[in-house]
Symmetry: C2
Subunit: 192 residues, 2 copies
DNA sequence: CCACAACTTGCGCGCCACGCACATAGTGCG
DNA sequence: CGCACTATGTGCGTGGCGCGCAAGTTGTGG
């Protein structure tokens, strides 16, 4: 049989990831202070592409740096959508979330970078908000037609994940991220 | 007694507002499509200052355009903080919010501009998030020391306001914004 | 009245996003 | 297999932007 995906798209995803990981790595090296020193040509060079190509994938350094977070949020939304439809909302949300963060802790340095660097704040919020669309869809499937309620809940869940992340990187105690996340989610799913 | 505020800061606030108002007005004229055509020099000229001065107040066009929304969020947070401490949380939130949006409807065109223009998405989210800090503080005052809960609730409330705004600008039925907002808030304050 | 501080402005530099045109490589069809 | 076709990488040029720097200007306080 032919490849699951053709070579074009495989290469495309590969370069995209190469660029974003290079961008994040460089940002971490320079630190939040010296983020302005992460030049586009550095990212491109580190990813092995031309600066012009970098710009075909991302239209700003911030976007490239936060791409991983954004993709993760997108996958989280998908995961919730693929849960059995008869599962109660709170359970489904917790399960879908734990599926990601339960097994492996997120990258602490990376998360701290994108959440504590003012220049990245906008992109970081965009990334976390990415999950709201699918989330709202999945919630609407379970609770019926109240669109407003679904969106409010989706925003609350996404906000809870974001706040949990912030707490996790601020406190240095060893409470695992999944634990904080569960507590945060419990506060919002109580309304469901 | 001396002036409540000295001339320096009065002028400063005046120019800041002149710039942001001019920026929003121009953005509305050009429309979401032609936002790229709103050049810095246009904003500066419309505000009666030099381009360099514009840049002393805002470090991007997006920031200038969304400044009003951002300021409003800041004031909302303050309003909640100044509510009587013995008022129940849900009531206080609703009251503080109604104090703003109950009397006068927000500017529909302006809100639609900053919420439906992709290039402004990041700044818009930053603006709405601005209220979370004061909100969390006010909530923590009422519910005791659970920092995580306070922040989660604050994010949920801010998210509810944002979602309500989105609903309001999407539907053209004549349900007033305050009404939608109350319904949205009811869904999250139920958890309090 | 005067020294000081805050603010504005012009200038210049480096960087960046992006349109355009061309080269190259993967793909599908006869 | 060979040949059009299309998607993608890249170089170049352009317009614009953010900001540091160094005057010039205008409140402010002693």
């Amino acid at each position: 049989m032919e490849d699951a995906v053709d070579m074009r798209t495989r290469n495309r995803q590969a370069t995209r990831e190469a660029i974003s990981t290079a961008a994040l790595r460089l940002a971490l090296e320079r630190g939040p202070e010296g983020l302005a020193l992460v030049r586009v040509r550095d990212i491109a060079e580190a990813a092995g592409v031309s600066p012009r190509t970098y710009n075909n994938y991302f239209s700003s350094r911030e976007e490239a740096i936060c791409a991983f977070q954004s993709d993760q949020a997108r996958r989280l939304g998908q995961a919730l959508l693929e849960r059995p439809a008869d599962e109660p909302l709170g359970q489904a949300v917790t399960a879908a979330v734990t599926e990601y963060y339960g097994t492996a802790e997120p990258d602490r340095a990376g998360l701290r970078m994108i959440m504590c660097t003012p220049a990245l704040e906008g992109e970081a919020l965009k990334a976390f908000t990415t999950a709201e669309g699918p989330l709202a869809e999945a919630i609407a499937e379970r609770t019926g037609g109240d669109e407003l309620f679904a969106r409010v809940m989706a925003a609350a869940v996404a906000g809870a994940i974001r706040v949990a992340g912030r707490h996790w990187i601020e406190r240095d105690d060893s409470e695992p991220f999944a634990s904080i996340l569960r507590r945060a989610l419990a506060h919002v799913t109580a309304a469901a």
